[in-house]
Subunit: 317 residues, 2 copies
Amino acid sequence: MDAKRNGSAKRHPIQVVARRTGLTADVLRAWEKRYGVVEPSRSDGGRRLYSDEDVERLRLLHRASEAGRRIGRIAGLSTEALRDLVREDERQEARAPGPGGPAPGAGPHLAAAWRAMDAFDARTLESVLLRATLSLGAPAFVEEVAAPLLRRVGDGWARGEVHPGNEHLASAVLRQVLASLVTSCAPAGGAPTLVVATPSGQGHEFGALFAAAVGAADGWRVVYLGADLPGDEIARTADRTGAAAVVLSLVHPEADPATAAALAELGETLDEDTALLAGGAAAPSYGPALGAAGAELVDDLQALRVRLDRVAAARPA
Amino acid sequence: MDAKRNGSAKRHPIQVVARRTGLTADVLRAWEKRYGVVEPSRSDGGRRLYSDEDVERLRLLHRASEAGRRIGRIAGLSTEALRDLVREDERQEARAPGPGGPAPGAGPHLAAAWRAMDAFDARTLESVLLRATLSLGAPAFVEEVAAPLLRRVGDGWARGEVHPGNEHLASAVLRQVLASLVTSCAPAGGAPTLVVATPSGQGHEFGALFAAAVGAADGWRVVYLGADLPGDEIARTADRTGAAAVVLSLVHPEADPATAAALAELGETLDEDTALLAGGAAAPSYGPALGAAGAELVDDLQALRVRLDRVAAARPA
DNA sequence: CCCTTGTTGTCCACCGTTTGTCCATGTATG
DNA sequence: CATACATGGACAAACGGTGGACAACAAGGG
């Protein structure tokens, strides 16, 4: 255990620290000046540079302050003591009745869906999923209900706990709900177009459906092509629809030659103005092919939304 | 626009790189000159030709810079280090606003709705609102879009900035969207029933609609009665539907005798097992009448949800 | 209970540095 | 010739640092 790290100790500018801690840059400076809460080093032009430890400490201070502690009283505490304090405070708060209750709560929806699936009750499952979309919104539904449900189905199936029948039922209903999400979203006039597909060799469709649902909720006109499409077909569709972006989902076969070929083809035929984004568990295994095609890797749906937002903002009208 | 991606010759002109990275050609040159961020090879005539690796590196630099890093400080990092840095920044940042919360952002929806209202475009307004519900979920939609929209309409109308026609348009469309939210929520079997209404003398309907939408999204079977109902009528409906809770919205006339009478009547005729909740701007002015009727005051929709949740949890099945 | 006092988040003005953008000019490309 | 690009320089906007003011609020004293 070394108290100090070598030159690789990360030093963050104030803006990054502000975003990571949720504090304002103003507050960061005020706390430092008034209570000496941290002592960031300075660089060249006298700008603050915070270490990871500083960020951790500031985060704790923020949480403690939000729990009602006065910053002047806790500023002198050691980081260890702070950690204990925050833990204690949050335990108390969880126990309290909590008028400021959080309560977004995807848990009940997931549990209900799970029960309906076990009971082989397609109608109830569909109604549960529909209510979940209404309650949480499409993006949260996808991330907090659809994806976990699918994962649990997969795990259960691998372990023999879920019968193929149940698995098919859940898949079919989920697919239908996601598709209805995509189509029921009336596209606003002048909305940019997004083409979603899975290239040849990639049979798993759900990643693409997730992306399509999220894109539709964020205001895109979504053209959903489904799974296992040759590259030039995707490119042609993008061309004809004037798509601003193409999203590919790569999940199951890693480093598959057919998929790589489709990617190459897509890269050659796709218009250069069209942004090309790729995600999914298998996406990293196609790194070089994606790079050559001019595609950008997105780690998860959240990152996809950010990227799409930027693409939409970049186009004039 | 006919230019296609050239996968075989791996060198891209500056304009293509600009599009793919989201950076300006000017910025590309500036970064190269000032910080030596990449070293593209040159064509015979001296034009820059970037490789795929250059594009990748520039993308990472762009993302890091958008995360709050100063370009001058990260320009010297290796591409590997950059990748780590970007990944960490984006992960940490997503955590900042809330525990797992992806920072939805109702602003754009509100702005779009405002524009559609100004333009007198009912169709667009409806589509905007529907997309907002899909994107945010019903509860967040009500609190972050519907309520602010209504408030701004009211303010603008009072100040003469909004014409009565626009105001009516917005009200009608919003009412319709909220009503469709309530009805389109398929009630699960065994879901508890919630009766929502406005007692006699209370003409403002939107508070009740908000409550109905939120209740429906949270899994209640909602019976929406609308505005201006005598107390015994509300009680009778609750009785016949076996309602577990009744929600009243009191907004406009404060301390109105007719309303007070309706509340007294309701208190006398309503089953004791049925929870009675009341909210709205005018609710405090009916404090004594509500107390006598056995009603509980809820300050806002969030409090209403918490309270309803408790009622639902209290009943066996 | 009210009133005074200390605390704390926010905002402002002023200044130097960093950084994005723009312009003028010249040159290659088609 | 029109377009796209390179180069160098200029410039403005954004950002960060400092010091200080201010309003909202909580705490403590009478």
